[in-house]
């Protein structure tokens, strides 16, 4: 084939780009919720990774029971969101007035309980999930073939991101949520049911994490400890993008996804170190991240 070398090079570039976007899509699903919980509730949710894991395992169960993947995408997030909402309203709700350290440690404790419960229910071995037939296999792209499922992740990330952002910016509930984020007491005086808003946001964040888990399962399987693995990445994304900002989470996911993808290709040993350095630099010089609001 003429110009074979150039075609190969372009195909490779395209492949890396798509890899970065797919990874960014997944990272976004995981970190958007974390960012919201921090921006609006001012709580660092250490249990966030476990909700992601719960989503993956529940996804496995739905697929195992129904034989279909698509229902999992629809059923699992609300279930995970409900679990989160119940936990929030029975524990976290009582300690919002306290120092942030208490809320953080409470989520730490919840994470321990949830993680071990999942192990009790599912056992210690990893659970494989297959993508739906529509998304299986790969499509040819120049000199390479690219998995369909990853393309789906890119699309999913964009769609969910747009949906959440529109919800916050254009709906009445979204407006109330943003009001509570800016000044909870004032919003309370103005008649907003602050406690309910908080529960809603926390539940929604968990639902997003659960969605991330379902989406990740065909790519990584559902396994114990997947929460811990992803939460550090999520923190980096949220710090870079800005705590509380959806566009920030998108930007952060793109940056981290690209850094990890190209980093793994060119500098696998130091990729993580560079990420921590970037995170540190942002925290020192621009702690509210790229898109966050200066406090």
């Amino acid at each position: 084939m003429p110009h074979g070398g150039i075609l190969v090079a372009i195909s490779l570039l395209l492949e890396q780009l798509l890899n970065a976007l797919a990874l960014a899509g997944l990272l976004f699903l995981v970190s958007a919720g974390l960012s919201l919980v921090f921006g609006i509730l001012r709580v660092v949710n250490f249990a966030h990774g476990v909700f992601y894991m719960l989503g993956a395992y529940l996804g496995f169960t739905v697929v195992a029971l129904t034989g279909w993947f698509w229902p999992a995408l629809v059923i699992v997030p609300p279930v995970v969101g409900l679990v989160g909402a119940v936990l929030e309203s029975s524990t976290l709700r009582f300690i919002y007035r306290r120092l942030p350290i208490y809320q953080l440690l409470l989520t730490f404790g919840l994470a321990l309980i949830l993680e071990e419960s999942i192990r009790v229910l599912y056992g210690p071995t990893a659970k494989g999930v297959d993508p739906p037939p529509l998304l299986q296999g790969s499509i040819p792209l120049g000199a390479i073939v690219y998995p369909r499922y990853r393309l789906f992740l890119v699309v999913l990330g964009l769609v969910v991101g747009a949906a959440v952002w529109l919800f916050l910016k254009r709906t009445r509930t979204g407006l109330v949520i943003r009001a509570v984020a800016q000044n909870a007491e004032m919003a309370d005086c103005l008649g907003a049911d602050v406690a309910r808003v908080r529960t809603l946001v926390f539940g929604a964040a968990c639902a997003l994490a659960g969605l991330g888990g379902v989406a990740a399962a065909p790519m990584t399987t559902a396994y114990l400890g997947m929460g811990i693995g992803v939460i550090v990445d999520a923190f980096v994304v949220v710090v870079i993008g800005g705590l509380g900002s959806i566009p920030g989470s998108m930007a952060g996911s793109l940056i981290v996804g690209a850094a990890q993808t190209w980093g793994a290709y060119y500098l696998p040993e130091t990729a993580m170190v560079i990420m921590y350095a970037v995170m540190g630099a942002i925290l020192i010089f621009r702690p509210w991240g790229l898109f966050g609001e200066e406090e």
Binding site: Q16, P124, S138, V145, T221, L224, W262, A264
Partner: protein
């Protein structure tokens, strides 16, 4: 005032009692049993290995019921270390000092084994490895209270290299998790395969816990390798195989794994068909003793034995034999003496415990993951069996002659 002191004393006493209580509970129903302690991993990501140690112990306990060793019943005590060396040492110390255990086994991470092994001379107890692969345990970090019954990492790499040396593949890529085992095994493999006049066209070390191997898959493909040698942590291997299959890599580049586990096969499924590699214990070994074991294991646990199920069972059986031979389970020195230079007919074949480094010389296996309608998942078909002296490194080293 007085109340506070009372509360303090009560708390301390209560805590002390709670710490001591289980000992009394256990003593109630045991009459001078031989105790085997397992500071293993029962929670978190590595629990799938601790479970194997436990399953094998449970089957062994059942098999030996009524007979015991030296007429004494055998008691297994399991502790969860959470894959943390500090906890492993703490639990091992508890087993030794509180429960009076003289035989430890079931350590999962090599770092846990190294830490516990270093303490054995002080505690005067035996640590029997049935899982740990780190070459250093019988080389640089050797001490005479440590015995390794399982195939070590270097031995697994050796079996794979021997098989590939005779095979047609000439260009190989090596992918090892970025920690001790991954790096050592890739180094060992590279040295041996290059001595067999093959070419290692690339080496990469993805961090432990990598969830996205896309970039590595791209690199492997570009290197035009015929096979990719994988030394990845269990879960990472599962993820890699799944993603490599999704990218269509496995059609062009053959996956070769230093260890081929049933765990991977169950989680990855058919996407792994055709993968070759080494297995520390393939349950398909064709001997009457092994078939009987597999049947008993399947009847008790409902699953087929994975690598460490088999290795742990063999270790326990051998330990029992050695204690019998020594005539005592309390004088550890005598047990050590009895074990050194002893032979054992295992499930996989003949074992010999070298005195110089306490590594059990045993057969090495090259296997392939194949489909078999009799089983609910892929199974390891044995492609080649290598005699023990060909796959075991020189004494106290990680090199082969």
């Amino acid at each position: 005032m007085r109340r506070r002191e009372f509360l303090a004393t009560a708390t301390v006493s209560g805590a002390a009692l709670a710490v001591g209580a289980p000992v009394f509970l256990r003593r109630a129903y045991a009459q001078n049993p031989i105790k085997i302690g397992l500071p293993t991993v029962l929670s978190g990501g590595n629990a799938q290995y601790g479970i194997q140690a436990k399953r094998a112990s449970e089957l062994f306990a059942k098999d030996i019921k009524g007979k015991g060793i030296l007429g004494r019943p055998v008691e297994f005590i399991y502790e969860d270390t959470g894959a943390d060396p500090a906890t492993a040492v703490r639990k091992a110390q508890k087993l030794v000092e509180k429960d009076g255990v003289k035989f430890l086994t079931g350590t999962v991470l090599s770092s846990e084994a190294l830490a516990v092994s270093a303490k054995c001379p002080e505690w005067k107890v035996i640590l029997m490895s049935t899982i740990n692969g780190a070459g250093a345990l019988t080389a640089k970090s050797f001490n005479r209270y440590f015995f390794r019954v399982n195939t070590s990492g270097p031995m697994g790499a050796r079996a794979v290299s021997l098989y590939l040396a005779e095979g047609p593949m000439k260009r190989l890529f090596a992918l090892g998790s970025d920690y001790a085992w991954g790096r050592d095994s890739v180094a060992s493999f590279s040295a041996q395969i290059e001595a067999a006049k093959k070419e290692v066209v690339g080496k990469e070390y993805p961090p432990v816990g990598t969830k996205d191997f896309a970039s590595y898959i791209a690199k492997v493909r570009q290197s035009k390798a015929e096979g990719v040698y994988l030394v990845l942590v269990g879960q990472d291997a599962t993820i890699f195989l799944k993603q490599a299959h999704q990218f269509g890599l496995t059609k062009d580049v053959k996956p070769i794994m230093e260890i081929v586990e049933l765990e991977n096969m169950k989680a990855v499924g058919d996407a792994m068909e055709g993968t070759i590699g080494s297995s520390r214990y393939p349950f398909t070994v064709d001997t009457p003793k092994n078939h009987a074991f597999v049947k008993r294991f399947h009847d008790m646990h409902g699953v087929y034995p994975d690598m460490f199920d088999g290795e742990t069972y063999e270790g326990l059986e051998w330990l029992a034999q050695v204690i019998q031979k020594a005539g005592t389970a309390d004088d550890v020195e005598k047990v050590i003496e009895a074990w050194e230079d002893s032979s054992y007919e295992g499930l996989e074949g003949p074992f010999f415990m070298r005195k110089c480094d306490h590594q059990a010389v045993q057969p090495g296996f090259a296997v392939q993951a194949v489909k078999d309608p009799k089983y609910p998942h892929l199974i390891p078909k044995i492609l080649a069996t290598f005699p023990g002296d060909k796959v075991t490194p020189k004494c106290r080293t990680e090199e082969f002659s």
